[in-house]
């Protein structure tokens, strides 16, 4: 006699907690074969706004942490993901209809992506910063800092790797994020949230919403307390309208990408601000 399994309830991830959508809405997530996998929470405008509040509250602590500390937290995510890789392989196979081998390699790359970015945490300031030889008796130093809260539309066709590829470059520099996971492939995103919740990632640093990006993204694009907008997975949305909405508060915007964005320092620096500090030198 086979044992009756315990299916998981998939909820949102906001401020380090796992609430249901305040709207009470859920939607069915199906496998590529059309089989029922789970009901995912369908996030509302209110959920998105709550997530921004949580993300904003987390900016001070996360951006104020040392790069060494943030690097270790990101590395810890990779450690835990490694330990739960079987679960992610299963979810990717079920959701994306790929072979176990393909799913397994995607998990590999997702883990390695965390590692690659983890190492940047205490280096990007050196690489992107500059001591400036100004013509006068001044100390002058430029350093990049995180922009603040970044809203992200995750790639729609890659449940885990796509998500990691947009979260990691934003948070490694000290930003906090509100991510809208792939609408059709939301389950690995919430499983990733479980990894995050146990990886020393402070609550609110990474907030994950599931549901309709078309419904939620406009509220994030126009939200005055969001500093950046990564439209990586918004290719099929009316993303120009999102970009226009973002212009009202002059958000930094990354345009949609086909597929999954490659890891690069440019994605990281897209949501940073260069601060230049001058100080007089006395004449001796």
């Amino acid at each position: 006699m086979t044992r009756l399994t315990i299916p998981k309830t998939y909820k949102l991830y906001i401020g380090g907690k796992f609430p249901r959508s305040e709207s009470g809405r859920t939607y069915e997530v199906l496998s590529t074969g059309g089989a029922f996998l789970a009901n995912a929470a369908q996030a509302s405008r209110k959920d998105a706004r709550d997530a921004v509040v949580a993300a904003r509250a987390a900016v001070g602590g996360w951006s104020g942490a040392t790069g060494y500390n943030r690097g270790q937290v990101l590395y810890r995510i990779a450690e835990l993901l490694e330990g739960r890789r079987a679960q992610f392989v299963d979810e990717i196979v079920a959701g994306e209809g790929v072979s176990a081998a393909v799913a397994s390699s995607q998990v590999d790359v997702a883990i390695d992506t965390w590692i690659w970015f983890a190492g940047w945490a205490d280096k990007y300031v050196q690489v992107a910063g500059n001591g400036n030889p100004v013509s006068g008796p001044y100390f002058n130093l430029s350093t990049p800092e995180p922009s603040g809260v970044v809203a992200v539309v995750a790639p729609s066709g890659s449940s885990l790797l796509g998500l990691v590829s947009v979260i990691a470059p934003a948070v490694v520099t000290g930003n906090t994020v509100v991510v809208i996971a792939s609408e059709s492939l939301p389950l690995p995103a919430i499983s990733l949230a479980e990894v995050l919740a146990t990886s020393d990632v402070p609550g609110g640093v990474i907030n994950i919403l599931t549901g309709s990006a078309a419904e939620i993204a406009p509220w994030l694009a126009s939200h005055a307390d969001v500093n950046g907008l990564d439209l990586a997975g918004a290719e099929s949305l009316d993303w120009v309208e999102l970009q226009i909405a973002a212009a009202d508060t002059l958000k930094r915007v990354l345009a949609p990408v086909t597929g999954v964005p490659a890891p690069s320092i440019d994605r990281m620096l897209a949501f940073t601000e260069t601060k230049t500090v001058w100080h007089t030198k006395s004449l001796i």
């Binding site: 790359v109 690659w116 690489v127 400036n132 345009a255 490659a262 890891p263 440019d266 007089t280």
Partner: protein, 522 residues
Amino acid sequence: MSFLEYAAAPESTALLNLRDSYGLFIDGEFVDGHGTPFSSVSPATEKKIAEIATANTEDVDVAVAAARRAYERTWSKLSGADRGKYLFRIARLVQERSRELAVAESLDNGKPIKESRDVDVPLVAAWFFYYAGWADKLDYAGLGANPRALGVAAQVIPWNFPLLMLAWKIAPALAAGNTVVLKPAETTSLTALLFAEILQQADLPKGVVNIITGDGTTGELLVNHPDVNKVAFTGSTAVGKAIARSTARSGKRLTLELGGKAANIVFDDAPIDQAIEGIVNGIFFNQGHVCCAGSRLLVQENIHDEVVDRLKARLSTLRLGDPLDKNTDIGAINSREQLDRIRELSDIGDAEGAERWTAACDIPADGFWFAPTIFTKVSTSHRIAREEIFGPVLSVLTFRTPAEAIAKANNTPYGLSAGIWSDKGSKILAVADQLKAGVVWANTFNRFDPASPFGGYKESGFGREGGRHGLAAYLDPEARGLSSAPARIETPGLSSAPARTETPGLSSAPARIETKKKGATK
């Protein structure tokens, strides 16, 4: 006779050789504009200086086409070393003609000759000299090997530092291998047109820089032209937002340097003599027509009265008047429109309960003038503490603790600059860390240098001008990180994974510049 009485020492305008009217500078020549021409007046006298052409749609098309042609046929085929040589030539010509440029700038803009002569024009030459040296060293700009030029850059600049803003825009654009169509502000076109003459003397290949004049409509036509690859704008936040909206979808690279409402924070352990000078320089430099002006003075409560008293005493020694007089500290407000704006916001300051103090000084009969003004008893909710006045008006607020100073300083949608005055280094560094501002001046204010990046956080815009960072605004990096980043396609079976490609539009970017090609001729 008090030391304030003095004999006028006006700089002669005899060395100016101005024309009665100026056309558009397109494809290396001055040509007629097809819009309705307008007069440029001296804000100190309201007298007409010259008639300036307006570029209409057709003229903008012709200018952009000239820039495109120059990009494809000439500029992108030159070696970086040769591009640099042209920029060095320009820097030298600016130095040679510096007196003439300074006089023209003060005449047209209204700023004191001591500023145009000692700040604006020397920085213009320095900017070209600095970026000239970058032209053949772009591989070292931190953007990977062989970064690519973007193509045609549309640049729209403001009236507060007409020639300096031109240099901030044109020098890095050309060094990076782009060609340019630049529109100066309507009220301050003159020195840009003199600069066009310098380009002719430098024998810069035709079409590499085109200068078109006109009002905001011309600027709008330019930034929305479908054949420009890059838009760089310095000006108001409202216009900056409009440009961000109108260029959405276009894939045009955008940098915006917009408004500010900088906090200048004075702690009770500040070097007070220097701080007073810094506060004055921070807000009364260039009549306060400075986006990064220290327009909000945050002074620690226990030294408030002393600082305000000393400020008043210092402001009472400033000389307001003829911009061409070498004694002048405060020149003319650039336009009647701006004067109206300053008066309106100052009146709102009165109405909201702040206390106005104005330096006693004679206001000339003609022209646009506003005497140095301080508002005390200002609270963070007052409009004079929130909105950019862009004039010689200082709002004074107080604070008790560093945390309160930081909170008040950051309580603005802007984030361009900030000042900190203290003799305690650890406090300065801790406060600087917390300020959301692109430039932080500690124990100094309003310092500019071509090697130093400048630009804002939040609604003060994005992108940086100056330094190595300033090049990034005009270059596309090679895709970076790929080789050293986690593998993407090596695993068998992963071919069904989504392809990883670059951002849409990148493939349509202009062909990259051959920066290492030697011996190319124009």
